[in-house]
Structures are given as C-alpha cells and as structure tokens.
C-alpha cells in the first residue's frame, strides 16, 4: 500500500509543479498572424501555425498531422518565425530557405508573424460529403462516389486532389479527384488498398454507403494547363489513373482539339480498369488515343495490345517532343523513368507536370 501512496503523492506534487510553471512561464499573450499582407488572425500564441490555420478554416495541405514527416505544409514566413529548425531542413531546399519557406507545423507562434500563402490554398474549403456508392475497380482498387452536402459545390481544376479526413482521427490523406470539374456536386475518388495504410484500409474495410465524412480541397499544382495548344501525353500507373481521367473527361467535354495520348502501365489484364470507358472515349473523341501496356501479360489474358514497361512504349510511340506537354501520375520510380524518356524525346522539362505518391 505504502508504495502506491508515495507514488501518487509524488505524482500530485509533480503535476501541481508543472501546472504552476506553465501558468507563470508560458505566456505569449495575443499574437497577430498576417496572411498575404491583408488577412489578420488574432490568436493567443503557443501553438504552431498549422493548427491556427486549421482553427481558422484555412486548409494548408498536410498528410502527417504536424510531425514534420510529410513536408506538405510549406508557407513563406516573412517575419516573426524565428530560425529554421533542423527538422525542416530535409524538406526545404537551400534557395527556398533564403525566401523564408518553412513548414507551418514547425513554426511556433510566439509573437506577431507575417506569412505568405499561395492564393490557391486560400481557396481550399472544408466540405461535408456523403458516400453515395462504392465500386470495385480491381481486386485492390475501389471507386468511391461522394455527394457534396455542405457546401454543395466544389470548383476545381482537372488533376487536383482533395484530402480525406478519417472520421474520429486527425489523419488526413490526399486523393486525386477522378471525375471531371463539370460535376461540381459529386466527385469520385480512386483508392488503392495500401498494405498497412490507415486511410486506404479505412476506405476499403470500414467506409459504407451513406457515411458522412469531411474532405478539404482542392489542392495541388498538378492540373491541366488550358492556355496552351501543345499535344498532350499522359502517363499513369495504378491509381495514378484518377487525375488523368479527370483531365481526359474535361478535354472531351470542352471539345478541346489538342492531340492527346494516354499511356497506362499495368502488370496484367486484371490490373486494368476504366478500360471500356477509355476506349469509348477514344471512339467519341478522335484526337484521343488510349494505350494500355502490360508488363507481364498472363497467357489467359489473350492480350494483343502493347507489352513491356510503359517507358519503352512511350519511347516507341511519342514523336514531336518539343510540341508536347506531359502529365505524369504514379509511383515515383515510374515518374522518374518517364521524365528521362520524355526529355530524351525533346519534351521541355518545364512542360512535364507530375504527381508522385
């Protein structure tokens, strides 16, 4: 008995000591956060920038929840942010450091602070959505239909993504929108089951029709550049299908006459999805060509299309590089290899847009 009393006694003393110390030591008073020189948030210091942004409905992308492991929540801190922390250095290249780029989750607000956020991010909003349908696309990829409830419409550029908040947690994961911007009241997400991934497991195992969830968005600078007339080459793999499908449907709906090729890499026939839809699109929209390629076709696939790695197929079929712009979405090794092939074909590096995940 006595050890328990002693232990609790010491615990109480320590707890009181900490509370008292916090009261006297941690006082920041009111701090002003000035955003883009116009919007001012008045907060009572002590927390990090990212959480103040969240409280004030400014949605900066963040996938790790403030642990400085994802590097998404970059903002430019003009003054009042203190020195860059070693935890951030990994994510911020030297030339950005000079501009004052920081990770919002690592900047503790202790005094007035002046930040720049790109205006795209300020447009991001929080949406309440309802799951209206869930469809299996392949054995490990699902298509999730979300109906927007509040606000009821989401304006985005084809290729952008939203963040899906796992209910009752603070975990956020990014998913590209697979539907075209014309459907403002309902969006579709393509979710691949990542072994051990908490959000994709949630979506695959727990999420059900009529569930209500919260998403934020739109985010991302991977979107269709509509002001150019160059030919378009899209390269996708796995659920990298999503943003590219949005881009393609948008091109077709707007009747944009740019010559478009879409290379989709998969292992065997069972990993292909939206195949019917894309071939139908090819028939309705003559500028467009869909080129799926299998790297390991099975004998029973009866595959007579392209085979080999997607980069080899791209190398064979893409000509006129300098007049081409490319949209790549898929796993990092695929993107890195594709960039090499495209630059070799004469595509300018500034015209290659990509989204790695």
């Amino acid at each position: 008995m006595i050890p328990i009393f002693i232990m609790n006694g010491i615990l109480v003393v320590i707890a009181i000591l900490l509370v008292v110390a916090e009261k006297f030591l941690v006082t920041y008073g009111e701090c002003k956060i000035t955003i883009n020189k116009e919007k001012i948030l008045t907060v009572s210091g002590g927390e990090n920038l990212l959480s103040y942004f969240g409280q004030n409905k400014i949605f900066i992308p963040s996938a790790c929840g403030g642990k400085a492991t994802c590097g998404y929540c970059k903002v430019e801190v003009l003054s009042g942010g203190g020195h860059i922390l070693p935890t951030e250095e990994v994510f911020i290249p030297r030339k950005d450091r000079l501009k004052g780029v920081r990770l919002a989750c690592q900047v503790k607000v202790k005094n007035d602070i002046d930040v720049l956020i790109s205006s795209d991010l300020l447009e991001a909003q929080e949406f309440k959505v309802t799951v209206s349908q869930i469809k299996d696309l392949t054995s490990d990829i699902k298509l999730v239909y979300l109906r927007l409830d509040e606000p009821s419409s989401l304006k985005f550029k084809p290729g952008q993504y939203v963040q899906f908040k796992i209910p009752e947690t603070d975990e956020l994961r990014a998913y590209s929108i697979a539907s075209p911007p014309s459907s403002e009241n309902a969006i579709e997400l393509v979710v691949r089951l990542v072994p051990g991934g908490i959000c994709s497991t949630y979506i695959h195992e727990v999420l059900d029709i009529n569930d209500t969830i919260t998403i934020t968005g739109p985010f991302g600078d991977f979107y269709l550049r509509e002001d150019s007339g160059r030919n378009i080459v899209c390269i996708g793999g796995g659920c990298g299908m999503a943003p590219i499908r949005s881009i393609l449907l948008h091109l077709k709906e707007k009747g944009i006459p740019r010559k478009t090729m879409y290379f989709f890499g998969a292992r065997s026939k069972k990993d292909l999805f939206f195949t019917e839809e894309l071939f139908a699109l090819e028939r309705e929209y003559p500028n467009f060509k869909y080129i799926p390629a299998l790297s390991e076709p099975k004998p029973h696939d009866n595959w007579d299309g392209e085979t080999g790695l997607i980069t080899q197929v791209v190398e064979r079929l893409v000509h006129d590089g300098p007049n081409t712009e490319a949209y790549l979405c898929g796993p990092p090794p695929m993107i890195d290899a594709s960039i090499k092939v495209l630059t070799k074909k004469g595509v300018h590096e500034i015209h290659i847009y990509y989204d790695k995940f």
Partner: protein, 197 residues
C-alpha cells in the same frame, strides 16, 4: 556505500566505461542524429544537461523518500515520471528565458525524454550505491562521454560523406554500426586504466 573517488568515476565514465561504446546504450539518436556535426553537438549538450539534472533530482527522491518508505518497488515509474516532468519544465524555462538556445538545442529535449541513457544513469546510481557527490560526477561523466562519442561519430560521418564511396547496402545505419564498433575497439585501449565494480 561505494567508495570510488568521484574523480575516478568521472574519468571512467567518459573513457573506460563509455556508455555508448561499452554498454551500447542510447543508440537511437547515436545512429540517427549523427549525420551533421552541429546537430550532434546540440544533442550532446542537451543530453549532458538532462542526464545530470535528472540524476541529481532522482538521487534524493530515491534515498530520502523511497528507501525510508520501503517503496523501492515503484522506483522505475517514479524515475521515468520525474525525467519526463523535468524535461517539460526545462523546455518551458528555456523557451521563456533563453529563446536563442531554444532553436539550437531546445528541440532535442522532447527526444531525450525517452532516451534510455537518462534512465540507465538513474538505475546505475542506485545499483552501485553511489552517494550524492559520486552521482553528480558519474552522471556528468556518462553524459559527457556519450556526447563525446556522438560528436566523434558525426565528424567521421561528415568526412565520410565527402570522401568515401560507401557500398549502397551499407549506407546509413550499416556504416554507423561499423564505425561504432571500431570506435569501441579504440576505447578498449583505455580499459586497463580503471575498473569500476
């Protein structure tokens, strides 16, 4: 009571009984934070500070409260809680009074809370019956020895990054363990000097 002279303890804990190289304790930051000389120094200084301070606080709690009350059984719990609280308090104090220090080594403090050498020092001081003065010297020596080791490691790794062509599979933790092994050999050269019980 242990009768080793405090000065001998100090030297022994730095060289012959270096906690990182002979006991292989405190390895997580030793491997991860030793990429860069400056951060290694920051981490080392923070460790010296926290280890010495917590040992000095835990000694009277153990001998003046737990032992008379025959409550040694909860000593592990108490040690850990005291360590966590001390680090918290230290963080607040540094932030309030030394904001410049905060950015250079304050950020390591939360990492140290769960470092095993902080607890190890408190447990060794009990196990070996050190008196208060011995504890002060021992805890300072041990943490200084650890800081010494991580700073050497960081210096070697910085140099390696510039000149060495390390095989792909060994980069990162692999080469760090090999360097640590070689350093431990070097420190074995001190072994005959002093023997602690």
């Amino acid at each position: 009571m242990n009768t080793t002279s405090p000065l001998i303890l100090l030297i022994a804990s730095i060289f012959t009984h270096n906690i990182a190289l002979t006991y292989i304790l405190g390895m997580c930051p030793f491997i991860v934070i030793s990429k860069n000389f400056k951060t290694a120094v920051g981490m080392g200084v923070s460790i010296i500070f926290v280890v010495t301070l917590t040992a000095v606080i835990n000694w009277p709690i153990y001998w003046l409260i737990l032992v008379p009350a025959k409550a040694q059984i909860v000593s592990y719990l108490i040690f850990i809680i005291v360590i966590a609280a001390t680090v918290q308090l230290l963080e607040m104090l540094i932030e309030k009074f030394f904001p410049t220090l905060q950015s250079s080594f304050g950020i390591f403090l939360p990492l140290i809370t769960v470092n095993c050498i902080v607890l190890a020092v408190c447990l060794f001081m009990v196990l070996r019956n050190y008196n208060f003065i011995q504890t002060v010297f021992y805890s300072f020596g041990t943490s200084a020895g650890w800081a010494f080791a991580i700073v050497i490691m960081a210096a070697i790794k910085e140099k390696l990054a510039l000149v060495a062509d390390i095989p792909l599979g060994l980069r990162g933790a692999g080469i760090t363990m090999i360097i640590a092994g070689l350093m431990a050999f070097a420190f074995m050269g001190f072994a005959g000097m002093i023997t602690l019980q």
